[in-house]
Structure formats: C-alpha cells, structure tokens
C-alpha cells in the first residue's frame, strides 16, 4: 500500500482481514492523511477523529505500517515489485495499491483573490485548522468577523487555472463551515458565492436548507471576479449576482476560499516510477470509468481513493473496500479478475 490516508488504511484493513500480508508505506509521521486536519465532517458534524479511530481498528496489529517512508524507486523483478525507500530499505510485493490521494489547490494561483497578499483571505483548510485547534475565529488583527464570505470552486471548474473538473466536496464543506461559524458566532453575517450548489449526497440538500432557514446564511449565485483590500484591511468583493442580473460589490472582514483537489505530488511521483497512465485531469487514469475503476494500466498495480478523482470520505472508504476485493481476486488468480471491457475513447 502506497499512502496511509483513508483509502490506504481501509484497503489494508480488509486485505489483512483476508489474511494477506500487508505493508503500508506512508511518507508522513502518522496515518490518516488529510483526515487528520479536518475537525468535523459533513453532513453529520461527526468528529474526523472518530472516523480515524474506526479506520485504525482495522490497521492496528494487523498491518505492517511504516511511516516517515519516502519511496525513491519501484521496479518489477519477475512477478514481484521491489519498492526502494530513502532509508535504503526494499520491500517486495506481489501487488501494489496506490492510494496517494490529493493535494489542495494552491489558492495563490487565483491571483485576483489575493490569497497570501491580503491579510484577511484564508483557505477552507486554514479555517478548519482554526476549528481543530479550538482557536476562536478571528481576523488578522484578532477581531471576531462581523461579515464573512465563502467563495466556492476556487481552483475547480476553472479553465483559467487548468482545472475543469468539480472537486465534489467544496460546496457542502462551505455549508458545513458556514454553519459552524454561525453556531460559534450567531452575530456574524455569512455570504456564500457559488456557481451552482452540488448537493448530491444524502442529507446534503437538507443541510443546505437548514443553513438558509435556521442559520440565515446568504447564498449568492455568482462567481467572484476579484477581491481587493480596503484601508481597514477588510476585503472588498466584486461579483455578479446572476439571479438578480446585477453587479455586486460588498466588503467582508474575513474571506474563505474553498480550495479544490489537485493530484498530489506523491501521485505524480509514484505514477512516474510505475509507468502509470494519467487522465486528462492529471489524476490517475483507471482502466475503465464504469467497471475497472480500481485497475491501472500496469498489471498488479491498483488504485483507491482520491488519486483517481476527487472523492468524499464515504466514497474513498467504499472505493478502498472495492480495491481490496479487486486485489484479492487478482492475487488468487480468479477468473473474475481477467474480465475485460471494450475500451472507450
């Protein structure tokens, strides 16, 4: 297993439960990946740490976990993969599952939003870190914001930055974070700027409705054209309210950019080492979009989680279990693993 995030942990747990000898390699010092940084999860507001504890139950004592492990080279000798690490160790495997996940879009690339330049522009990950650390919500000069803005689709569905795909989780994350702010500071006014709200998951729509009816969160259909800094360091927003068909200009004390998913650096590096194919959106390309969703172009190498596309935690867990089943049938030489489907162009 390459990558000890949600998908890597859950696949490892299931394969170990099927009595396979599983080695999980993780570059960071702890398992959990991005989940470590998210305090509460949509749509239930469950603590992320509870999901992590659940995943750990399947890994602890069952899986050989090697953290702080950086992979430098992978090659195949006969039927086995030889995985070399920066510490000089080599691991052998009959099959490799790649679960290298995603990175967050670097919001500085949306230069016109002023992230890294304006003092009161932060990312959704930074807001979550404030929640996780138990720090009170504050502006750069320590005030509780009277007005906050959330900008959806930062680095997603945006040809200008080269990412045309939807990151799937940002809409509902904005709704979740806006509700959390309102629960902590009911006096703070919140404005969410969106293109369209993709509330596809069970209970997402109810959460969105609750955000409006119970918490009075404002949703404005319009993409931010630019942000500027006022003399008092608040952030001036310019957008078009496309429902009223009018340009809109307003100031907020704190602006949150809902940053999307991009393929992780680990995905790029491991893909190069193994000769894996990448899709048009630079995530890994699976053998088929409908059926062989865990299968790579290299026999014996499989995928799970957000290394193939943006996924929710629920999707990643489901995908990880599917990958475990796929790998098991491959290792057992079952006929089912030899199924093919006509390639779609």
């Amino acid at each position: 297993m390459i990558g000890g995030g949600i998908a890597g942990m859950e696949s490892s747990a299931h394969l170990a439960a099927m009595d396979y000898e599983v080695t999980l390699l993780e570059k960071d010092s702890r398992l959990g990946g991005k989940l470590l940084k998210w305090e509460r999860l949509f749509p239930t507001m469950r603590l992320g740490s509870e999901v992590l504890a659940f995943l750990n139950q399947g890994v602890e004592k069952h899986v050989a976990v090697h953290c702080n492990t950086e992979i430098t080279e992978i090659h195949r000798k006969a039927a086995a993969f030889h995985i070399h690490t920066a510490t000089g160790r080599t691991y052998e495997a009959d099959a490799v599952l790649v679960t290298t996940g995603y990175d967050l879009f670097d919001a500085r690339k949306k230069e016109e939003y002023g992230y890294g330049i304006y003092e009161n522009v932060i990312t959704s990950a930074e807001l979550e870190a404030m929640f996780a650390e138990g720090k009170p919500l504050h502006t750069a000069d320590g005030r509780i914001p009277k007005r906050m803005g959330f900008i959806h689709c930062v680095g997603s569905r945006d040809e200008k930055v080269g990412n045309v795909y939807c990151s799937k989780v940002c809409c509902v994350t904005a709704v979740k974070q806006a509700i959390e702010v309102k629960e902590k500071h009911p006096e703070t006014d919140i404005y969410c700027f969106y293109m369209d709200l993709r509330m596809y998951g069970m209970h997402f729509e109810a959460m969105y409705k609750q955000a409006q009816e119970k918490y009075g969160i404002n949703f404005i259909r319009g993409r931010l054209s630019e942000a500027c800094e006022n003399i008092d360091h608040s952030v001036l927003l310019k957008a078009e309210d496309t429902l009223s068909g009018r340009p809109l200009k307003m100031s907020v004390d704190l602006l949150v950019l809902m940053v999307g998913f991009i393929p992780s650096e680990g995905t790029k590096a491991v893909g190069k080492m193994l000769g894996l194919e990448f899709g048009v959106n630079r995530f890994f390309k699976t053998c088929d979009q409908h059926t062989l969703t865990n299968v790579s172009n290299v026999p014996g190498v499989f995928f799970a989680g957000a290394c193939t596309a943006p996924k929710t935690i629920t999707n990643s867990i489901t995908d990880a279990r599917a990958a475990a089943a796929t790998i098991a049938t491959y290792l057992e030489g079952k006929a089912i693993s030899a199924r093919t489907i006509e390639n779609q162009k």
């Binding site: 500085r108 230069e111 016109e112 890294g116 330049i117 003092e119 500027c228 800094e229 003399i231 360091h233």
Partner: protein, 355 residues
Amino acid sequence: MKKEGKEQLWKDYQKEIADDRYFYVRSCVRQNFFPGSETAFLKILQEELGKDVYEHPCHTTCTGIGYHADVVPFDTAMTVVARQFAIMTESGYHNLVPSCITSFGLYTEILETWKHFPEVEARVREYLYKATKRDFRVPENLAHASDVIYKFRSEIAAKGKFRLVHHETGRPLKVVEHIGCHYAKMFPDKGVGGAEYPYVLTGMIEEWGGEVVDYPERRHCCGFGFRQYLVQANRGYSMSCSHKKFESMEPYAPDLILTNCPGCPMFLDRWQYAISEMEGKTYGGDGQGIPVFTYEELAGLVLGYNPWDLGLQMHQVACEPVLDKMGIPYDAAAKYLDKHGHSLGQPLQPQKLKV
C-alpha cells in the same frame, strides 16, 4: 497587505528586456496629451544612458485604437504592424520598443497569434509583399518603453538629483501606480509583475524613494476604455470609472499618480477638472487635484530636468505640489513660455480646482 506575497508573485513574472539597440515607435496621441514624455524618453536613453535608440521617419500608427474600437479589422492591423517590423528590419534593429501601451498589447497579440497560427503570419507576409514589396523579421525582443525605464531604474536613481521623498521631512511620497489595461491584462506573462499586481511602475517608485499605495479600485480602468470615451454617448461611463478610482484612492491621500499608458494620465488628469466643475469635489489637499505623471516625466524630474521642458505645464492638475515636496526648483513665471521665451498664452482658471 503582505509585501512578501507580492514579491513571491513578482518572481513568476519576469521578462527579458533588451539592454540596447532599440527601434522606437511612437504613440499616436501622447505627443498631444503629454508632449514632453517621448522626448524625455529619448533623452534619458540616449544622453543619460548612452543607448542606441532609433526611430524611423516613416513609421506609422499601429492602428491599435481603431482595432480596439472595432473600426480596423485584425488583418489590416496585422499588415500595418508587419510594415513596422519591415522598416525595423530594414534599419538593422531587432528590439522593438513601443511608446504606447495599446501598441504594445497589439504587437504582443499579433506575435502570439502568429506563434500559434503560422498560416496567419504567412498570409500577412503575402499581404505586405503585395502592397509594399517588403519583407520582415519578427522582433527578437518586444518591450514597452516603461519596461525599458524599469530596467534602468537603478541607473536613473544613481544619476538622479531628486528623490520621491519630502525634501523637508524625509517622508516617502505616497504614489498611486496605474497600469494601462493593454500592458498585461491580455497576456499576464508579458508584463513585469503580471496582470494583477504589476511591478513595472512599483519598481520605479520604490527605487526612486516613494511608497506605493494599493487601494481597492487599483485594477479598475482609468476611464478611457476606448469605446467608453470614443463613443460620445458613453462618456458619462468614462467619467464614472475615473470617479470610482478617485473616491477609492482618496482615503490614502496619495501625493501623485504614476501611469504608463497614453490614455490613463489623460483621463485621470483631465477628469479631475471635470469632476470638480460638476461635483465641486477635488481629491488633493487644499482644493487641489492629485498630480498625474507619465513614467518619463517622473524619471525626468528625478534626473533634475526642467519641469517645463518636460511639458508639465500641459497638465490640467497642477504639478507644483509634487515639485515643492521633492524640493525641485522651478520658475513659475516661465511656466507658459516656449523655448524661445515667447508666451504660449495662459489657460483659463477652473472654478473649483486650484491650479
């Protein structure tokens, strides 16, 4: 405002600017609007810095104004520009330096078009040959004249007699920098510092001792915007754009505005008068306006040139407050005299704006 964030971004937008042997092409309108600017550019490059700058007597408009006003088709604009390239080639130069931002934008757009669509370049070569029997090489380097002044900003500072600081208090003058839209908004990587936080004028201001004012409507159009002004019925929109900028920059109390486009200093300067007449509002201190300068004019002041030789008497907003702050001596009685000492005539006094 985090300066280090901008500095990080500026690293991503550096461009190659040739250091000598420039083929200079003038603006259609700048000599009417700000008659000393292009002359000052040539003087600074040739006399102060010893550079080879050549302007061919047969160069023409690039047609950029007509192109952006939708009265000149792109093929025509490309053929006229191809002719400029041809006379540059015939003159033995490779580094093109346009004075005008719109020309710079149009040259950039044409070169990018030809890079991606070589068949268009071949077609334009054929047009030019049929019309003039001329051929050309594309420029090896294209830089706007403000890029060139930016490149030599340290040399200008070293030779300078004055700095952008209050000569009595040592306070850095607060400068609003306004970049022409066609400089980098179409092709961000062709401008020093990119499109959102351009560095070309900021670099000059900082090097010469001033402090840049970043205000909320910094990116907004000056009010020229071609069809906002060229179509008479739209001129209220032109003025409202300038008004929006003045209202936005006013709380920062800037000492001056620095520009790099032909239209921007014109509209930011003249509309201050028009707004004062219409609204009774002025944006500088004590009923005065905020003086507006071109980068050549400001470089000339730093180098100690006579303000009236730079054509500053042609500004609507009086430049004297900036001269006084920088400690630049000037002969008030000579403001409206030509170089032979003859009177140019006195302009009428505005009702509200103090000049």
